[in-house]
């Protein structure tokens, strides 16, 4: 028997999401993902002073606010051709890493885990504990995680003034120089967060966690360990979360966190830039295009974002029978790519994630493990960045914006590859195009009819007769940690 099921409002994601499934024989036969909100940020930016982008773009998204700032600042820095002082680069990365890690934690505790506390799982050996720890709004873990998160965001108070929506990230560096004593206080914030992670999240030191190199070691390590990540691993093993949610197994990362070299200039990324399709390949920015064949937008062919445009279709929506979302379909070299923590770690060559994906492909398990591993990998790097701050030296270089420029800013947000393409003409913004991580992951079909990453990942999932909120679908959708307000801006 076949039927159509529309799921919306798809909650516990950031922003507006609707998923429509065609179900046949108790399985998802095909899926369509709809981003149902359009605000028009790219048009708002046109005609503005280029630096006004730093006020406007963070407000695209309250959870990726700093990532949007970082991409705009990177595009503006590209326009000026400006070198950034080492302090500015370190402080910028600390601010971005603070947001990315806070987002990973928010996703795990507030968005993803509450599904395992649902009554539908009553009867599973782990359910009572999942309900006690993770139940939406009231789980006891929230009483530990939210204060830890608020303490963690003190890094923002020190370095960025506030979060979300800071203006601290500028093309020349950061606006807030750090004193020697503030370095000590930043290290204290990091130390307290490390203690929370070791005690509550992992039940082990960060270094022991990131030394785990394959699925067997991971299972042995998790066995009976009284902390939230191992609790998730136990649930994942029982539910087979390593075998659902496979998308295209093509991964894209713009590269995260440039380490300054010994002369303070930008050096290698902590997590490399590149693409992964069975093997790592070099990334080429010119291979990106966006297609609007299935969006409520005007356009007749795929365009590189340097030439891209965003125009809502005029007249009646019925005039575009193929359109079902406001989201464009980004493609890399014509193909469907997944981005996010898993993609970053695949490209970077993290042994456990490579092993998980090589065994079973991209999965719910692999995406969640990648996020938590990233927390464990990035905190030690942040400790080193704080130590490397030099209080008496500059945090921000003065700059001169050109009257004309074509520029690009590519960064890694928590959810993956985020790009801003900027054209300045006569000292004003003439074009601004944004491709956000979830634009990649929750892309609609392209003009060749090829579904986006989530649309592929949902095919084949079981849906019970009469079930209106199929649980496997909930897990797969949230495993991408979608940010819908970024997706369509």
């Amino acid at each position: 028997m076949s039927r159509r099921l529309t799921i919306g409002p798809f909650n516990r994601v950031e922003g507006d999401l609707e998923v429509t499934l065609e179900i046949a024989g108790g399985r998802v036969d095909s899926a369509r993902v709809c981003s149902s909100l359009y605000r028009g940020f790219e048009q708002i930016l046109i005609g503005k002073h280029p630096l006004d982008a730093l006020v406007i773009v963070p407000r695209i998204c309250g959870i990726c606010s700093v990532s949007q700032s970082a991409a705009a600042a990177a595009a503006l820095a590209d326009a000026t051709g400006l070198p950034m002082p080492a302090n500015g680069r370190l402080a910028s990365q600390l601010i971005l890493a603070c947001e990315n890690l806070a987002d990973h934690l928010t996703h795990f505790y507030l968005f993803f885990m509450p599904d395992f506390a649902r009554a539908a799982y009553r009867g599973r050996a782990w359910h009572a504990q999942a309900e006690r720890r993770f139940k939406a709004d009231v789980g006891e873990a929230l009483r530990e995680m939210l204060p830890a998160r608020a303490d963690w965001l003190r890094l923002m108070g020190h370095l960025a003034g506030k979060w979300p929506h800071s203006l601290a990230l500028q093309p020349g560096g950061t606006t807030r120089a750090v004193t020697a004593t503030e370095k000590v206080r930043l290290l204290s914030v990091l130390r307290e967060f490390r203690a929370f992670l070791s005690h509550t999240v992992f039940g082990d030191s960060l270094e022991n966690v990131t030394a785990i190199a394959d699925a067997g070691q991971l299972a042995a390590w998790a066995q009976g360990r009284p902390a939230d990540f191992p609790r998730f691993l136990e649930i994942a093993a029982d539910l087979g979360l390593d075998s659902i949610g496979r998308a295209s197994d093509s991964f894209l990362s713009y590269g995260a966190y440039r380490q300054p070299d010994h002369r303070g200039r930008k050096g290698q990324h902590l997590f490399a830039r590149g693409v992964w399709q069975g093997a790592r390949q070099l990334f080429s920015e010119s291979s990106i295009s966006e297609d609007v064949a299935h969006a409520w937008l005007v356009g007749d062919r795929p365009l590189h974002p340097r030439h891209g445009e965003t125009r809502p279709s005029p007249g009646e929506f019925a005039e575009q029978p193929d359109a079902y979302t406001w989201c464009k379909a980004p493609r890399y070299d014509g193909g469907v790519f997944e981005t996010g923590a898993l993609a970053r770690q695949m490209v970077a060559g993290q042994p456990l994630l490579r092993a998980l994906v090589e065994a079973r492909g991209g999965s719910v398990l692999a995406r969640v493990v990648a996020r938590l591993f990233e927390i464990a990998l990035v905190v030690p790097a942040m400790e080193a960045w704080v130590r490397a701050l030099t209080p008496d030296e500059a945090f921000c270089s003065p700059w001169q914006l050109p009257d004309q420029a074509d520029a690009v800013g590519l960064v890694e947000a928590a959810r993956g590859a985020l790009g801003h393409w900027l054209r300045i003409e006569s000292g004003r913004i003439a074009r601004y195009q944004i491709i956000a991580p979830t634009t990649w992951n929750f892309s609609p079909r392209d003009s060749a009819g090829v579904p986006g990453a989530l649309e592929q990942a949902l095919v084949g999932l079981p849906v019970g007769e009469g079930e209106s909120v199929p649980l496997a679908v909930q897990h797969v959708v949230r495993s991408f940690d979608p940010c819908m307000v970024c997706t369509v801006h």
Partner: protein
């Protein structure tokens, strides 16, 4: 007190801000322990899909009781009055239709953030989406619900304006309402709770000494006063940001950048680049609130000529280059 929270056309940043509230066991525990129940929140509730729609339909037809409607994000009336730029997922109905229905049932309606209060950042430029606030369209009364709207308990929309709203503003407003301690006279002319809007961002500004002497930052990251050159509106902006820290220790000016007066209707279109101070004949056009221009000009000239070298030099550096002297016998 039961809360029903909707996210209209915003960024979700006010919810993120709220989750960062400093409270011993976190803001959700604080709500629960204070008798505030989240009947529905799109980012937090377990319900999804049909489960969510059932709650919202029940709330709209009166079968699911709730007291307070919190709306985050602007209300999109476009294109052509249809509200089609934001349909509530799964319902096929515009968000503005849901908001109208639910506001009619609520005892109190709260705009969380400047978008749902006045339209906010999304209403800037040509306002292609015809964005507005619940009871204001920019600085004009009206908005989605109309200037005459009163929620069931008698108050107009309570505007917890800010971009984002400070977590303390949201928590204090909700707890005051639950205790019956927030009435119409506690709201200012823009319907903001006076407890935070009857302060100026200038109050408690750490750059106070630089302001006194008009020792001004020349570029971003300088320690000096941000008013003369960098676009800072802290002397005009209604909020307690420097008395009530953000993220434990911060604020915009503490972070080294200008206050853009984000609690004010129309902040999104200042008529000048945000990070530049508009001037006529070298004098900022936006003067400190309640200050006569002639006095400002006279005092500025006098204080500039009286600026200590320490204050002048430090104002143009990103860290203090000259330390305050230490009196041998202590201050008198």
């Amino acid at each position: 007190m039961k809360l029903l929270w909707l996210q209209a056309a915003g960024c979700g940043g006010c919810t993120q801000s709220l989750l960062g509230a400093e409270s011993r066991a976190g803001v959700l525990a604080q709500f629960a322990d204070s008798g505030l129940e989240l009947v529905f929140h799109p980012g937090l509730s377990e319900a999804s899909g049909d489960e969510s729609l059932a709650v919202l339909r029940g709330a709209a037809d009166g079968t699911v009781p709730f007291d307070v409607l919190c709306v985050e994000g602007a209300l999109l009336r476009g294109p052509g009055g249809s509200g089609r730029f934001q349909l509530l997922s799964g319902s096929g109905r515009p968000m503005i239709a849901w908001v109208r229905d639910l506001a009619a049932r609520a005892r109190h309606v709260i705009a969380i953030g400047s978008c749902s209060a006045y339209g906010g950042i999304i209403s800037s430029g040509e306002n292609l989406t015809d964005a507005c606030g619940l009871q204001f369209d920019g600085d004009q009364e009206g908005g989605l619900l109309g200037g005459d709207f009163r929620a069931a308990a008698g108050l107009p929309v309570i505007n917890v304006a800010g971009c984002p709203a400070h977590p303390g503003w949201i928590v204090d407003t909700l707890l005051s309402l639950s205790l019956g301690a927030l009435g119409e006279s506690d709201l200012d002319a823009w319907q903001r709770p006076r407890f935070y809007s009857e302060q100026l961002v200038h109050h408690g500004c750490p750059r106070n000494e630089f302001y006194e002497f008009k020792a001004s930052a020349q570029k971003l990251s300088d320690l000096g006063c941000l008013m003369e050159n960098m676009g800072c509106k802290g002397t005009q902006a209604n909020a307690d940001c420097n008395l009530r820290p953000w993220n434990g220790v911060g604020s915009c000016v503490r972070g080294g950048f200008a206050c853009i007066s984000c609690t004010e209707p129309g902040f999104e279109e200042p008529g000048h680049p945000f990070m530049e101070t508009p001037k006529v004949a070298g004098i900022p056009t936006g003067l400190p609130i309640d200050m006569p221009k002639a006095w400002f000009v006279a005092l500025a000239a006098l204080s500039k000529s009286a600026t200590p070298r320490r204050v002048r030099e430090n104002s143009r550096a990103d860290h203090a280059v000259i330390r305050p002297s230490i009196r041998k016998r202590g201050p008198k």
